[in-house]
Structure formats: structure tokens, C-alpha cells
Symmetry: C4
Subunit: 124 residues, 4 copies
Amino acid sequence: MESIGSTRWVVAEGYIPSPGIKEDRALESHETFCILNTGPDDAQISITLFFADRAPVGPCGVVVPAERTMHLRAYDLDDPEPVPRDTDYATVIEPNVPVVVQHSPLDSRPEAFALLSTVAFPAL
Amino acid sequence: MESIGSTRWVVAEGYIPSPGIKEDRALESHETFCILNTGPDDAQISITLFFADRAPVGPCGVVVPAERTMHLRAYDLDDPEPVPRDTDYATVIEPNVPVVVQHSPLDSRPEAFALLSTVAFPAL
Amino acid sequence: MESIGSTRWVVAEGYIPSPGIKEDRALESHETFCILNTGPDDAQISITLFFADRAPVGPCGVVVPAERTMHLRAYDLDDPEPVPRDTDYATVIEPNVPVVVQHSPLDSRPEAFALLSTVAFPAL
Amino acid sequence: MESIGSTRWVVAEGYIPSPGIKEDRALESHETFCILNTGPDDAQISITLFFADRAPVGPCGVVVPAERTMHLRAYDLDDPEPVPRDTDYATVIEPNVPVVVQHSPLDSRPEAFALLSTVAFPAL
């Protein structure tokens, strides 16, 4: 299949809450960037994080292989530094080939369980 | 009414959790693709699934009649093979006439009840 | 302010569940179409409903005054007939001047509490 | 990084419920506008509120510094007047340089806990 999507995506909402349910990776609080690369070439992706009160961090690089999807958890990003918990942030995702990005946080603090999802904003 | 929408839609987020509430189809964990065909012709729709670690599967074919909506559950897709549970995936939906697609998962695992919805990404 | 938005919006996902919490209008199960008319003229709006297994119903007409928002509950639509509960449907909203539409269902069945929201698909 | 986004965003859905959980700012009922300014210049932002039954209010001004994100709570807007609770409203956000806006309400009334998020509608 040909490449589908955009080469720049923005997620203005970002917040990794405290872990909540800790024994089960599927139910632990997390933020997932669901990335789909439908095309014939691997996607080299640069991720930049923005904060409220300090300079942007990044870019961090990840690769989504050709014809594959990656459900990337924000707390697995640790280069050049981990994404802090309990901190407002925003994300710009820039692949070298078109991909589609959806953002799906899960909050499993006992008093606040929620699962949500939204297509990121395609800027290019 | 004339045809409305796009002939290619992408849902990068996909994950069918364990069944959760099992006695009631309305409350069982599921992922629904809500498809609306406003036009005068039946829509022949090809659905392709992408995974993290293996080749894409499909296309699977469904028909949404003229001037009708179909709320298609992912776990009802079983040609050429069922959508696996507890597995990350992504979906490309390609009708031969314009339709509109919205994606609405419901997670009814007792510790994780959630209902969400997002318009799919229109790529054409 | 000038008119903002589109003159055709589509919501492919529609489902009014059983009432759930019944004593409080704010918490009763409902589907809301949030419509904003920023412009200087009243918006005459035609709403058409589509179903899985019968012909479309409508149009039903509503008016959103100039420079006002209306949070319209689907179950308040009763011309030419009420929106049925526990039934899949989809909606096309066509104003005569540009407006913005967001769709916000609330499900207050005790075993399924959920509140969600998505911008409708702007088709024109 | 260059400026990304739009200079006019619309959120048709707005409703600040009663406070719910009151002891913890992270869990108190609120509506957040997540604004990202990726560009080299501070963003001067005008916010106008629309209601069901009275004239629009505003504009209220906020500044999002260059290369920063602001997660702005609606109830912190108090110029020229606070956003009322338990009232339907809608919002138009107009920066002087492109930004990206996402809308994330949290409802922590005990009978109605919900967390949701959607990208605002980019009108320009």
C-alpha cells in the first residue's frame, strides 16, 4: 500500500499521571501514540516535547517499520531524557514519510479511571 | 442525498480487550466502526488490518447499503481471519464511494470501563 | 464576529442508551449536538437521521440564533418522529450558514457510565 | 521550530460541572484548553465565550510564550468575568500567530467521573 497521512503531527494535550494500577502493563496509567506506517519504507520519526516552563526537549528518534503499526508509550521515551510524570507537556511528531498518529491516554488512578483517544492534528 | 465523506479512512488506534461483561452484547468489550453511506449507491468497502510485528491482513470486504449506516464490530470481521484480542492493531478502510467513518471502542473489563469515540482520519 | 465553520456536518456514531440516572437531567443518558453560530444571522438547520435497516428520517428543523450556542439533545428531536433509544443511527446536520458542531454523548447506565466528545466531520 | 497550527480554533462543547473532588487540583472538575506555541514569538491570544441565551463575552487575553505549552483551565479565566459553572457555553480562540489547541474536560462529580479530550476545530 502507498504511504498515507502527514509528515507532521501535533498533540497539544499531554500528561502522564501517577501509575495507578501497577501490576498490569495493560492497565497502568500511560499515554500511547498510535502510529501507522502503511507505506513501503521504514519511517524515521523525530519526536519533540514542549513544556510550560522550560525549553523544548528532543528530538528523540524512533523507527516504525514499513507496513507496521507501533503503539508507543510516552513513558518508554527516555532519550535524551524520560518524559516526566504529573507534568503538562505537548508533543510534535515528525516522520520522514507520511504516517497517521492517534493519541490514547489511559488514567488508572483509582479515583480517576479513564481511557480516551483522539486523532492528532495533522500540520502538513 | 448525495455521497458525503472520503474514500479512504485510517484508524491508527486499535485494541480489542478481553470481553469484560459477557452476558450483554451492548456492554461487552468491543470496537465499533460506525460507517455512514448517505449516497444513492451501495458502498463496497475494503478493510485492511496492520499489526506491530507481522504483515498486513486483508482486505476484508463489507457492504453498507445506500442511505444506511452500519455500526460494524471489529470482532465480527473474520475473513480472512478474526481480529485477535489483546493485540495492538490499526485499520485502513477504503470504500468505492465516499462514506464517513467514526471509531468507538467500549472497554468493559471491570477494572477499566470506558467508552470513547473519534472521527477516523480522512486520507483522501 | 463573522460566521465560522461548515454548512454540512456528519456524526456517524449515534446511540441513545436507556435512561440510566433518571432524576437529574444533567446526568440522564443523552446525546448532545453542541452547535455554535458565531455569525450575525440566525442559522436555519436541517437534521437528517440515518438508520441500519430503514429509510432516512427528516429533515427536522431547528434554529440557532445569531451569536449563540445551542446544546441540543437528540432525544428532544421529535419532528417528524422521536429518535429511538437503544438503536444505532447516524446524523447529517446542514445549516444555511456556517456553524461548528461537536457531538457529546453521556451514558449513565450504572454499569456503563461514560462521557465523551468529538468534533463532527465537516463535509463542506 | 517554526509556528504550527491555525490562528482560529473553535470548541463548541463547553460545560464546567460542579467541583466534584475538591481537595486535589488534579482531580477537581475542570475544562482545560491545551495550547501549544511551537514558534519563535509569544502568542497573544483572544478568547471569546458564547452562551445559549445572552450576548458573547470577551475577548479575554492570555499569552503563551514562544516554544511553550499552556494548559489553561477555563475556570481560571476571569476577565472580564468568570466562566459560570453548570452552564452550556462555547469558545472561540484566536491567537495572533499559529498555535494548536486541544480541549480536555475532566468531570469528577462522584456519580459522573469522566476524562475526555478532542482537538479543537481549526477554522483558519
